[in-house]
């Protein structure tokens, strides 16, 4: 989310740094307006939010746009007529208020952490000494049981698709095309099984089929199957022999 360096003279870069996210910006607007967080004038705040991200050039930031869309959804929901006398009407803003309160609390914790880190950074530890590397590192404690438990845990955590990893084998349609042309130059017709040879792999079969269909489309050959499930004959296409 940091802007390119050459843009630093533009105002929004500073602003972008000033807010740590859409909720931060939203809280800022709410505080600036001095409105009750439990009764947010959602229309006004949504408009201001949109105006801010427009002015600030936030348009690229998906996170802000997502929040803007969320605010607009709430705004719409507020406009819908409420069922008469329904006590169970749920304020469309409830979830937003909950998120804002939660975020505000995290902000408070973050401030506390930053203060502590600031105090800590006022006390320097000894700088790293150059003699240190000469000393041998402490001996290592390695237990087989722990290694096994770790391996087991990792294996269990692996997503299923890794268990049945598909080894990519590229199709060789060019090779199949060459082989078909070779066979056709020697004979006028041949059987598909001849082309595939003994014990073809799946990728061989697919490669040959693709090559056959492509050559048929180009008019170089015709493919015929006389009876269902019978053998497939490949024959030279006489009319287009000259291509």
């Amino acid at each position: 989310m940091t802007a390119p360096a050459q843009l630093t003279d533009r105002p929004f870069v500073v602003e972008l740094d000033a807010f740590s996210g859409p909720l931060d910006l939203l809280l800022h607007l709410i505080r600036e307006q001095e409105v009750d967080i439990a009764d947010i004038p959602i229309g006004r705040i949504a408009d201001q939010f949109l105006a801010s991200i427009h002015e600030l050039g936030f348009n690229e930031a998906a996170d802000y746009l997502e929040m803007a869309a969320y605010l607009l959804r709430i705004k719409l929901a507020m406009l819908l007529p409420r069922p008469l006398g329904d006590d169970e009407w749920e304020d469309p803003r409830a979830e937003l208020v909950r998120r804002l309160l939660e975020y505000e609390q995290i902000r408070e914790v973050a401030d506390w952490l930053a203060r502590r880190a600031g105090e800590r950074s006022d006390r320097f530890a000894r700088g790293l000494l150059s003699e240190e590397p000469d000393l041998p590192p402490p001996p290592l404690l390695l237990e087989l049981a722990e290694l096994l438990a770790t391996a087991q845990r990792l294996a269990e955590g692996l997503p299923q698709d890794v268990l049945h990893r598909v080894v990519p084998r590229p199709l060789d349609t060019e090779g199949a095309t060459a082989r078909i042309r070779e066979l056709l130059s020697a004979r006028e017709r041949f059987d598909l099984l001849e082309l595939l040879g003994a014990r073809p792999s799946v990728t061989d079969v697919i490669s040959c089929l693709i090559a056959l269909l492509e050559l048929a489309r180009l008019g170089e050959l015709v493919v015929a199957q006389d009876i269902p499930f019978g053998s497939v004959a490949v024959a030279r296409a006489v009319a287009h022999e000259t291509r």
Partner: protein
């Protein structure tokens, strides 16, 4: 100073990292952990009462000697030592969430902050402030993060219990079980 105190001082000086009472006990084959703690106390008193520029501090991984806060400004201004770079607000917020919700997955962090967390998480992992501590349930068994001893060291905390209780913060907390 007793001879063990002298050794403890020298060891803490040379180590450039916190040492546990256990580690310090190795300095003298006859010393117990109680002896080491007494030596640390003597050293602390000497530094405090002698008006020294350093002090004994207990941190996450043990004990270390640190310069006193009131000396920081002069040392930093004289450019003899650089202060560590401050973390961004985004990084602090992410740390706050991980510290209080650990073990916690990326999706939860992003939900609370309303911002993608990849970059910040990578930074925190690189700086060793958080680590992967397990995997959660659910699709893809997401990685769960927790704080490390380096996190405590960053804040000068002995353990996580020193973090403020959420009830003490001015903003009210929603009940824990109410997670989405």
């Amino acid at each position: 100073m007793r001879s063990l105190t002298k050794l403890v001082e020298a060891a803490l000086f040379a180590a450039a990292r916190p040492l546990t009472a256990d580690e310090l006990a190795v300095l003298d084959p006859d010393a117990t952990e109680v002896d080491v703690l007494a030596a640390l106390e003597e050293l602390r008193t000497v530094y405090d009462q002698g008006g020294h520029g350093v002090e004994v501090v207990e941190v996450a991984e043990g004990f270390e000697i640190l310069t006193r806060r009131e000396c920081a400004e002069a040392i930093a201004e004289a450019q003899l030592v650089q202060r560590p770079r401050k973390l961004s607000a985004a990084a602090m917020e992410t740390l706050a969430i991980i510290a209080y919700r650990q073990p916690v997955g990326r999706a939860d962090i992003e939900q609370i902050r309303g911002v993608q967390a990849d970059g910040v998480l990578r930074l925190l992992l690189e700086r060793g402030l958080v680590d992967v501590v397990g995997r959660g349930e659910g699709i893809g068994r997401p990685l769960l993060y927790g704080t490390t001893p380096a996190f405590l060291e960053l804040l000068g905390l002995k353990d996580l219990n020193e973090l403020p209780r959420l009830e003490e913060l001015s903003v009210a907390l929603r009940p824990q079980g109410e997670a989405t």
